[in-house]
Symmetry: C2
Subunit: 460 residues, 2 copies
């Protein structure tokens, strides 16, 4: 390959050979939840990898083989190995990485702006603008960031073209390959969940597919274009948001009519075409509360997607329903809210991860504060840290002792084997337990003399 | 058992023995889609069975071992066998059947009133009122009819008690065991899909469970009460209505943004937690368009269930979207609607059944009539019958010859291997094909020179 030639000048067979011979250089932009494991997986597949992040601390951690998170099993070991093998380095300078790269993989965040409910694409677009300044002709850019369908075509590519003075599809390639992994099982998901790739042209799609097949050893589904790949990612998560909302509203119905929603779900799922989802205090994390808005933001969504909109409403109102359950339970004891102490167990948006991104428990806590309750919080992933300006307790006992009410906010494994007799003795009497996750046993809790409420499980 | 004793006076072990010894008499009330196969299955299990229907013609057919429907494989043969073995008879007189019965299984229809969107429980309640007049003390009544949660407790039992002067739970038992079988595969579903049973007391639940285990040789899930069993049936179908609505609105989005919804679904389903549903012209049949209203009718649903409500809206509007696709396609040809002939292929609510209950194609046809198109219809299950006052053609060729537009309304197997070249030559030119079921090939149809539109598949 002469100086002026880039990776997309190759035939696909030649590209494949170079990949196998570790002769394709990869740049990974953004070393967060997805970017770092992606970079590590690529380096592990023996491709020379340079990771880029604007955060100096992250870069230093990576270069020392260290993680700043503690809930991604196997990642630190894998990182250390590729560092030792000199397959990966990290830098804050995008030029150093992109200058040399044949393939640039973009894993920049596309977070939700909570107030406006709009996706913030500025990190992605700014990153792409920087990439464009340094990228080689005929390199391939793969967008892993989750974006609404149409965003790559209408926003990302114009930025890349403008800053590079190159033409997409002629002078460089672009593919969308949205990540599909779940926090806490990202490394195993990489090798288990097929990837979906759609590019601006046949070559972009084929090269990206070939690379991902090689690195992740999984099935790659090629789709017609970037917007299809991006729609796939968004729709599969919106499907979940809709179904969680459906079962949340059914759970509220169950409370009203006197049915246990868990019993209902167990029975429903014996029908082959019913797929269980579970009620909760709302949905959190980087995907479920974000992706619906990415879909709704598209101009093509105007006046349609009523089910998606209703689902968002329902899930957004679940923290309020937790408060309703509390208010209802408090009728059984007579105490002023200033005299009531509430212990919160778990603040992560899902069990067994230390991640409070858009966790619905935040809204629960804020509402409780407004209502003048005293609040104590325990989450084993955040000991001694702060959440909503409340310092998190050192242990379970501290959090529950002298509480009038206990709210299970996240069903971390640690909370599933609580000895209710011990709990009752630690709490003030009569204690109230509110299970927002459907994972505790109402009958066992009631049998020790505690008052119980659960989402869809309040029937006695 | 003395004259004054009934089946519920027995211990469960004794009941089981009698069942095994063909010494329990069963009455099945209502010999429709579900009642007849249920009666046949019970008779096949060697229990003496008397079926009741107010329709004299149905009763005569049954007693002659004949069906009036042609889409339930194996049912006629099974019926003839139990007739030969003298295990079943049918009658129009409820007294003859219920007088003698130990267990009375109610399979009466609970249809939707189309205009009011309310379920009509009058057939069920009137039937129960008749049953109550003749039933023995301590017999067991099993409600198979699909009803909203709460209807058995609040409406059925009061009627049974009033007309019998007996007390439910003391003088007779009641269980809900809603059917879960699908038209066209009812007999096989009976032995495949677990049953859910919830009674007004422990004995009602246990006796009904035992009977269904014996007759159908399947898992029976016992739930806490009738309303839970009824909620299970309704919720599992509303789940499907919601998910079909979701993919319907996504399909409309796909048409707008230029994505093929089938490609999207195929890719989404490679994620382990995405379950595919498919767009269509709306949902029909005895369950999906009915059960949501049974749930929404409950007083406990007031002001909640927004996702369920939105889904109903979306699915109800799909016939209108079919018309939109047509209108859009017609822009490519210039002709007045009076000069345009439209052929409809398939009117059943789902493929390979001869059943037009609440079929969305009815609304499509009505709208087309209002628009002054000439309409021809072909459906192999309804040859020479009438649909919306239009006589159904004798064969495919008659229906498509000289049509400007062909609308695939139901994807019966017969329609999936159309030779598009032959079709194009039979139709007027330029012909339009509209696929409401996503089962035809847009590229093949376009390759012979036909214009194509499909729900979520209109992208070229």
């Amino acid at each position: 390959m002469s100086e002026n030639k880039g990776i997309l000048d190759l035939e696909i067979e030649e590209f494949e050979k170079r990949v196998q011979n570790s002769a394709v250089k990869i740049s990974v932009i953004g070393l967060g939840r997805i970017g770092l494991p992606t970079a590590v997986a690529i380096a592990k597949a023996d491709l020379p990898t340079i990771g880029v992040d604007i955060n100096q601390e992250i870069v230093e951690f990576v270069n020392r083989g260290k993680l700043r998170i503690n809930d991604e099993p196997g990642l630190e070991e894998a990182l250390q190995k590729v560092i030792e093998n000199k397959k990966i380095t990290a830098t804050t300078k995008i030029s150093e990485s992109v200058n040399e790269a044949d393939v640039i993989i973009v894993c920049l965040p596309t977070p939700l702006e909570i107030n406006s409910k709009k996706t913030n694409y500025q990190y992605l677009l700014k990153g792409c603008s920087e990439i464009a300044k340094f990228m080689k002709r005929n390199s391939l850019i793969i967008i892993e960031s989750t974006v609404g369908p149409g965003i790559v075509e209408n926003e990302v590519i114009p930025v890349l073209e403008k800053e590079s003075n190159l033409v997409a599809g002629k002078d460089f390639g672009v593919s969308s390959c949205p990540e599909r992994a779940n926090p806490s099982t990202i490394l195993t998901d990489f090798n288990k969940i097929p990837r979906v790739v759609g590019g601006i042209d046949d070559k972009s799609t084929k090269f990206a597919s070939k690379l991902y097949q090689f690195v992740f050893k999984i099935e790659v589904i090629s789709v017609k274009n970037c917007k299809t790949a991006n729609a796939v990612k968004v729709v599969e998560n919106v499907f979940r948001d809709v179904n969680v909302a459906f079962i949340n509203e059914i759970a509220i119905f169950c409370d009203r009519i006197g049915i246990d929603v868990n019993e209902l779900i167990e029975a429903c799922k014996t029908k082959y075409n019913f797929i269980p989802h579970f009620p909760g205090p709302g949905v959190g994390g980087p995907c479920l509360p974000v992706n619906p808005y990415q879909l709704l933001d598209a101009p093509e969504s105007k006046d349609i997607l009523q089910v998606v909109r209703a689902a968002r409403e329902v899930n957004s109102q679940m923290p309020e329903y937790v408060i309703e359950l509390l208010t209802n339970a408090l009728k059984e004891i007579s105490k002023n809210s200033e005299d009531i102490t509430i212990g919160i167990l778990g603040i992560s948006y899902k069990p067994n991860v230390g991640d409070t991104q858009l966790t619905p428990i935040k809204e629960v806590v804020q509402k409780l504060k407004q209502m003048n309750f005293k609040i104590k919080i325990f989450d084993p992933y955040f000991i001694n840290k702060e959440f909503s300006s409340i310092k998190i307790e050192e242990n379970f006992e501290n959090a529950v002792t002298d509480c009038d009410v206990l709210i299970l906010g996240t069903d971390h494994d640690e909370f599933l084997n609580i000895d209710y007799k011990v709990l009752k003795n630690l709490m003030k009497s009569p204690g109230i337990v509110i299970d927002t996750r459907g994972n505790l046993s109402p009958s066992e809790i009631r049998s020790v003399g505690l008052i119980f409420r659960g989402i869809g499980r309040s029937v006695k």
